[in-house]
């Protein structure tokens, strides 16, 4: 019979194997990234444009531009675009944040040509048809109204605005009514300026070779970006003072709670350390916040904290949804956990557990043929090389309790955090 009281031995990698993407120079010195990876005959083509919401002149302009691009092009109607992609079993994902708009195509190798034909039209020749815009706007109004009815969503919007300022490009958020102020010409102009004129970073991965990559680049050449450098745009000199915001909802069963503070972008020397510290605080199932507020007190289904990097800044966020009657005790406990990290050093055992967990997380993050693309694109937007992952890894595995203690004292003072409650307390 096996002796169950003895835990099996284990090992962890001492370094990471990261496939370095290759570069192909096309056109007049434009750089395309590509990576031959995976075992299935599938391809991912990704274009990352400097077309996030920070560049928009009207609220919802950036996301609506991206959203309407597949709804009719020079050569295909909205219906034909959808029809062709569905027939090939190809999928195009569109995502947008404050800094970038990303278009990613996933398809079987055998359908690359046909898929590319559609992609090219979507990116280069969107029509921005008035009728399609009306349908699109109606759908988006409805889904935004539903999102805004959720306490979690509302708390996230309000907290971000409180950190950066409601009029700051990193803090602004829209109301449903803002869709009515938008016109098709706004979308055309944004597409012209941020997609066509700026161009995007092209990354091709999957079971691919240079011939295929060159073909993709050739088709998309007019929007392959000309310059590596994205110039900082924003000022962070006049950020608002931390405040406490309470939005009452009479019918709420739970309150959404958010505690946020601004931090910095990925290239800041304290970034990796804060990643570790935030993981200890609330970044995994056994974290201090989860242990205290869920597993000990049963106040919530979940609570987490994370570092959110942006291109020109970043922030730390702590979020949960709790029973209305324990809203205030929860906030007290969150602050207690911050204070504990500021006053006591993290013990050796807890630190090694978190470090090992994070090593596993990095392996998971890099697993499979496609997830690595997201990691590399994130680095590029911060002006960091792929080797940064190795540095990140080395820094995580060598960080000390003393360093974390200093970081906690520097960045985890509850007085520096804005506090948002949406619900009842």
């Amino acid at each position: 019979m096996v002796n169950r009281s003895i835990q099996p031995g284990f090992t962890l990698p001492v370094s990471l194997q990261i496939p370095e993407p290759q570069e192909l120079i096309v056109g007049n010195g434009k750089k395309v990234l590509w990576l031959n990876i995976g075992t299935q005959s599938i391809v991912r083509i990704t274009l990352q444009f400097p077309a996030g919401s920070k560049y928009q002149k009207k609220l919802l302009q950036a996301s609506s531009t991206l959203g309407l691009m597949p709804e009719g092009t020079k050569n295909f109607s909205a219906q034909q675009v959808a029809e062709k992609l569905d027939f090939l079993g190809s999928q195009i994902d569109y995502s947008i944040d404050r800094d970038h708009a990303v278009i990613s195509v996933f398809c079987l190798n055998k359908y690359v040509d046909q898929t590319l034909e559609v992609l090219k039209d979507i990116v280069l020749y969107p029509k921005f048809d008035g009728q399609e815009f009306e349908t699109f706007r109606n759908k988006r109004k409805s889904s935004l109204a539903i999102e805004k009815a959720k306490v979690m969503y509302q708390a996230r919007e309000v907290a971000t605005a409180a950190m950066f300022g409601k009029n700051h490009p990193y803090g602004a958020y829209a109301e449903v009514g803002d869709y009515s102020l938008l016109e098709v010409d706004d979308l055309k102009a944004f597409h012209q300026e941020r997609f066509l004129a700026c161009g995007g970073l092209l990354f091709v991965s999957g079971l691919v070779d240079e011939v295929l990559v060159a073909k993709v680049a050739e088709e998309l050449l007019p929007v392959v970006r000309r310059s590596d450098v994205e110039v900082p745009l924003l000022s962070f000199d006049a950020l608002p003072k931390p405040e406490q915001i309470y939005i009452e909802k009479d019918d709420a069963v739970q309150s959404a709670v958010r505690l946020n503070r601004t931090l910095f972008a990925r290239n800041h020397p304290d970034y990796v350390g804060m990643h570790v510290l935030t993981t200890i605080l609330g970044g995994y199932f056994g974290s201090r916040l989860m242990s205290n507020i869920r597993e000990d007190k049963g106040y919530t289904y979940g609570i987490f904290s994370s570092v959110v990097p942006m291109q020109e800044s970043g922030f730390l966020t702590i979020a949960t949804e709790v029973g209305c009657n324990v809203t205030l005790p929860t906030i007290v406990e969150i602050k207690r956990e911050m204070d504990r990290l500021r006053s006591e050093k993290v013990g050796v055992e807890e630190l090694s557990l978190v470090v090992n967990y994070m090593v596993g997380e990095m392996l998971r993050m890099l697993d499979g043929p496609f997830s690595i693309v997201d990691v590399i694109l994130d680095l590029y937007q911060s002006g960091l090389p792929v080797s940064f992952i190795n540095e990140h890894f080395a820094k995580i595995t060598s960080i000390t309790s003393e360093e974390l203690h200093l970081l906690a004292q520097k960045y985890l003072n509850p007085a520096d955090f804005i506090e948002v409650v949406v619900g009842k307390r």
């Binding site: 962890l12 990698p13 299935q40 889904s143 009815a149 967990y357 090593v359 998971r364 499979g368």
Partner: protein, 412 residues
């Protein structure tokens, strides 16, 4: 094509091993054949509550998560109406830790008043967060109750109401554990860069000495044939009105299952599908509409769900859905449209195979249905479906007497 080996331990535990040489990670999936359908109507939500208690530690493992995190692993679990699934991903060198942890909690779970009381609170907050404090959150509480008279699918996995969770006793928890958490009621699937003999050896070492038990659930009452349409109207503080209409369909192993699944895809998979194209894009009656299967093992539901556009009446919306139903029954589905749906299956299967965890879960799921090799033959079942089968399936399925309609009215 996914090659795998299967082995059944003397105590009845089924073990499946599939080699994937491409990943530095391994996936470990343990499925127990117990879900909300095995609950009594007086104690609903129990299977899911029990899933939470599985993380409270066991005889030799005071904390389930810590040793796993220490070896770089991660885990989670879910419960649905039919089964409960626990899974880990670990660096492949550390796969034995997953065997140790999962076997210990199958062998001797640590159940006590303290953890039961905390997890009751956590689950009630989950109930609040996901079912009560979200727009349309109570939808499945209403819809299941409307569509089922006797089958336990009449409640969602979270349970009928929070009091069923708060009333659960330690004795009931222990009984449930004895009855369902036994090796002969479980399926283990492991995917990673291993020889299958090594996985079988580990399975023997860690699970081999756990005795088989009599698996004793209540007989699951089967739903009688519905003979008249059912209706329900509710008014809620939500941004837009929504329409839900469900029909009783075949079971997962039923002959017409694949045709039914393809029917839902023709109606609503992707932006080129009929419902989206006609009712959202052209007629603008809905801002969003879907048709899908509830995904159960026993006879489940074929679901229509749509958010009404501003100013559209329920009568108009229902009529439009009925027109699409009539079309799919009366008009021949052309080869192009059929091919499109089949291509989508092919593509989603190839993409699904890029994830080791996804493969491990699917192997366990198909083994539960009767044979893990269905993971390789399902695509052929879809390929073999013909256009007239889909129309015939639709004709049998979409009768008014087989329907339940829920009007979810936005309070103005």
């Amino acid at each position: 094509m996914i090659d795998f080996e299967k082995y059944i331990l003397p105590n009845g535990l089924t073990v499946i091993a599939h080699r994937d040489t491409s990943s530095p990670l391994a996936a470990f999936n343990l499925l127990y054949k117990v879900g909300a359908r095995n609950e009594s109507p007086e104690r609903t939500g129990f299977a899911h509550l029990f899933e939470h208690l599985m993380f409270s530690g066991s005889a030799n493992v005071p904390s389930f998560d810590e040793p796993l995190q220490m070896v770089g692993g991660e885990n989670n679990a879910f419960t649905n109406n039919d089964y409960t699934n626990y899974y880990e991903t670990v660096p492949k060198e550390n796969i034995e830790t997953a065997f140790w942890l999962e076997s210990d909690r199958m062998f001797a779970l640590n159940i006590n008043e303290q953890s039961l009381s905390v997890q009751k609170n956590v689950v009630v907050e989950e109930f609040n967060q996901r079912y009560l404090n979200q727009p349309y959150g109570d939808l499945w509480l209403l819809l299941r109750k409307l569509a089922y008279m006797v089958h336990p699918y009449q409640w969602p996995t979270i349970g009928k109401e929070p009091s069923h969770i708060t009333d659960a006793s330690l004795f009931e928890v222990e009984e449930f554990y004895k009855r369902f958490y036994t090796p002969n009621n479980a399926i283990l699937s492991v995917v990673g860069d291993f020889d299958h003999r090594y996985i079988f050896e580990l399975a023997n070492r860690w699970f081999g000495d756990i005795p088989a038990q009599q698996v004793g659930g209540l007989a699951i009452p089967q739903e009688p044939l519905q003979v008249a349409p059912r209706f329900l109207e509710v008014e809620r503080d939500v941004p837009s009105s929504a329409l839900y209409k469900v029909y009783h369909m075949t079971d997962r192993l039923g002959k017409s299952y694949h045709a039914t699944d393809m029917l839902s895809d023709i109606l609503s998979n992707g932006k080129s599908s009929r419902l989206y194209r006609n009712l959202v894009q052209e007629q603008r009656l809905f801002t969003d509409i879907n048709a899908y299967l509830s995904g159960d093992i026993d006879p489940g539901l074929f679901v229509f769900s749509g958010k009404l556009n501003e100013g559209v009446s329920f009568e108009r919306a229902e009529k439009a859905i009925n027109e699409e139903i009539a079309r799919v029954i009366d008009e021949r589905i052309d080869d192009y449209e059929l091919e499109k749906v089949k291509n989508k299956y092919e593509s989603s299967i190839v993409f699904g195979e890029t994830s080791i965890l996804n493969k491990a879960m699917n192997l366990g799921y198909y083994q539960m249905l009767g044979n893990a090799s269905m993971i390789n033959t399902e695509v052929e079942c879809y390929r073999a479906v013909e256009a007239q089968e889909i129309s015939a399936t639709a004709a049998a399925l979409f009768t008014e007497n087989n329907s339940s309609t829920l009007r979810y009215i936005a309070k103005k």
